[in-house]
């Protein structure tokens, strides 16, 4: 037998909603407090018949809903304004309109979950499959289409015979006495249970180890450590020659490297003429580049006084008549093309810089062979400076 002999209560079944309303009213009027009505769906008017007070569930909802709103708003204020303040999209640190959506969602989430969990646990004491009524023919009937009322033995006025008479009088179809079920015992230290615990522990450890130490390093979870791209000098599977780095297309001209058409010719064409005016900026640029690239051999003042101490043959002075009478184009051609043992400087010095060097060389030559008019100018200038 699955039950004890202790009586939980007496239950009666009725056929129609009208009958159960009537029964509930009469039983309540007779002064019974510990009664319950079981119906397949909520029957209108039953709460009034049983004299039940309205549900207080709403207070849980209200409390948790307001807590959710306050928590969300305060948390976002703290995170965005105090903990890690950052201006995003020009919004202020405390951006109320932008905080509204999340505040609303958190409010709804907390209110709903607390209502449901509060109702099931706090109000209903669920899960409770071991309730005396569960598993009885009475519950089986009220789950389909019957309407039942149950008077519990814990009621002060409980008297089995009187209640059965009352229920008969109200027109009950079946009357059933409900007994308490036996207490179920769950022995913990069974070998079966201990084996189950051990198996669970081992399986959990293995899965955890696998996930953290193996799975996270497998494709595609490998945190982008393996990427389908070529790094410099790597072999390519795509191109036939296997080079990952590609040469530019034949005839490609790099920016700022327009080819020089007179390479290797002894004398430049007459078309080469200086495109730059000897402005202060241009001459400053020429001076800078001359001192870097030209002065080691030609000397700081173009006098052919090399600083290389014989490691490389000294070039002739640039103040010679031949040099002074050379056209700008010729000087440019020599820098670009090289001359005798002087190599080409085309790869180190850009076109603009080469012309600027030519201008600077002219300045040096003019300084060495100044005219009377130049001295007049200098005097004028220094006099102006003294004043």
């Amino acid at each position: 037998m699955n039950r004890t002999d202790k009586i939980f209560g007496i239950a009666a079944l009725f056929d129609t909603p009208d009958a159960i309303i009537n029964a509930a009213e009469k039983v309540t009027a007779a002064g019974y407090k510990k009664i319950d009505v079981n119906t397949p769906y909520p029957v209108h008017g039953m709460n009034k018949a049983m004299k039940l007070k309205p549900s207080k569930l709403g207070f849980i909802t209200l409390f948790f809903g307001l807590s959710g709103a306050a928590f969300a708003m305060l948390f976002m204020f703290w995170a965005m304004s105090l903990e890690y303040p950052m201006i995003i999209g020009g919004k202020p640190f405390f951006s109320l309109p932008a905080f509204i959506p999340i505040t609303f969602e958190v409010t709804v989430l907390l209110a709903t979950l607390s209502t449901v969990i509060g109702m099931l646990t706090f109000f209903f004491n669920y899960p409770n499959n071991n309730h005396p009524l569960n598993g009885t023919a009475y519950i089986k009937a009220v789950a389909v289409d019957k309407f039942g009322i149950c008077i519990e033995a814990s009621d002060n006025k409980f008297d089995k015979d009187v209640i059965e008479q009352l229920l008969h009088h109200l027109g009950a179809n079946e009357i059933e006495t409900i007994y308490y079920p036996k207490d179920e015992v769950y022995p913990i230290f069974q070998p079966k249970y201990l084996m189950f615990l051990a198996a669970t522990a081992i399986a959990t450890s293995l899965v955890t180890y696998f996930v953290l130490n193996k799975l996270m390093f497998m494709d595609p979870f490998n945190w982008m450590m393996v990427q389908d791209k070529l790094i410099p000098q790597e072999k390519s599977e795509v191109f036939e020659d296997g080079f990952g780095m590609r040469k530019p297309v034949e005839g490609t001209v790099a920016r700022g490297f327009i080819p020089y058409p007179f390479m290797g010719e002894p004398t430049p064409a007459d078309v080469l003429s200086n495109p730059f005016l000897p402005t202060r900026e241009n001459i400053e640029l020429g001076k800078k580049k001359y001192l870097i690239y030209c002065s080691p051999c030609h000397g700081n003042y173009a006098e052919g006084d090399s600083r290389l101490r014989g490691q490389f043959p000294n070039p002739p002075t640039l103040h010679s008549v031949r040099s002074r009478e050379m056209s700008d184009g010729m000087l440019y051609h020599i820098i670009t093309n090289g001359q005798n043992i002087m190599p080409s400087y085309a790869s180190q010095v850009t076109r603009e810089e080469r012309w600027a060097i030519v201008n600077y060389i002219r300045v040096l030559q003019r300084a060495k062979f100044a005219r009377e008019s130049d001295l007049q100018e200098i005097k004028k200038e220094s006099a102006a400076n003294v004043e």
Binding site: T16, P17, D18, I21, A24, D36, V37, N38, T39, P40, Y41, P42, V43, H44, G45, M46, N47, S55, L57, T61, F75, A79, M80, E83, Y84, I88, S95, A98, F99, P101, I102, F104, E105, V106, V108, L109, A111, T112, L113, T115, V116, M119, F123, F124, Y126, P127, N128, N129, H131, N134, I139, K140, V142, A143, V144, D145, D219, P220, F221, D228
Partner: protein
Amino acid sequence: MKIDYKIEPPVVEGRLSLSQIEELVAKPLETRPDKKFFIAIGISGTALLIGIICVAITLHYGIGMWGNNQPVGWGFGIVNFVFWVGIGHAGTLISAILFLLRQKWRTGIARFAEAMTIFAVICAGLFPILHTGRPWLGGYLFPYPNQHGLWINFTSPLIWDVFAVSTYFTVSLVFWYIGLIPDFASLRERTASKVKKIIYSIFSLGWRHSNRNWLHYEKAYLLLAGFATPLVLSVHTIVSFDFAVSIMPGWHTTIFPPYFVAGAIFSGFAMVVTVLIFVRKIFNLEHIITLNHFDKMNKVIMATGMMVGYAYAMEFFIAWYSGNPFEQFVIINRAFGPYAWAYWIMVTCNVVFPQLFWIKKFRRSIPVMLAIAILVNVGMWFERFVITVTSLHRDYLPSSWGYFTPTLYDIGILVGSFGLFFTLVILFTKTLPVVSISEVKAVAGGAQPSHHGGNH
């Protein structure tokens, strides 16, 4: 003809008794699946498998397998996300808003619509997560204390989306489960199988149809409906914020939130009609899901369809009225540019065809409503496509204009999402009661006391 509108037609037809209702609803759960079931799940499972393969390839090679690239950075990923979230909205509307409006006819279809909500949100959630490229790092989307001392950007619409969709899913699931508890208890008492009895006992939590429980239960249902109603409106509002908060012409409009919500209900009802037509036929639920139900749902489809049509017209009006040349360009480009075909599919399916529902005969004709509902679903998918793609493909910089073409993988994942949705729906019809047993019993003829006065 004089009709007395005070007398409502009976919600449950055929004078079914309470036990007959239960018998009818519980039958699919107690019989072995037949050939039709396996054919159906074979088709949906194939679609799902196609999707799984495409997702696996996407995860292996990366998001580059998809068609989205500059300038259309939001392709199918966002289109499908918005589409599926929208489908879900009908469920909450039926279960929550119609509950608050005391529409008794909702009981026959509420359970099914709620289930569709949950499945649709699952499908929707996949797309943004896949679009991130590394879905297993999705936890970074939630605020959690970390060693960088960094928090997510709470002012970003994309984070609002995370909160809205996850809250929506949780609340829908809880709402659904609360409705299922009494049915689990009924099934627990019905079943002869020992395994089923254990499962139903666990999920019924020991429910015993007690009136002391019904008292709180009804209150909880009301409270949940009260919260789900603004929630469902907020979810698609926030989804529309993804677009509206940006400064793209064609997206940056204040009409987006109501326009999106109307569109969501529109497409959701169309999907509910589409699926219920089959469920009703296959499981012989003609008396519980009646033509009156479809009639009412078709009226909702027509009404929301006209709201959507109004929004399309208003976009043109505002483009002209605002005098903003960028806005004007986008709207004209939408209707007459390279994506004009998509725009006109959208307008025809969403605005023109639902007008047929003005005629009562069409509202109550199964083939006509099936055709229109499918067309509406197509149209609503194209609406999201038009919004997302046409605004992006010609942006402020004419040198970067382009034409978005989806790849095979885009289409495969879309097919897969339909496969997932219908697989879940088909499994649902065989594992859980597709109609709320206790709720339908409560509205059946003679279920409530006769002397009971008042109206509630």
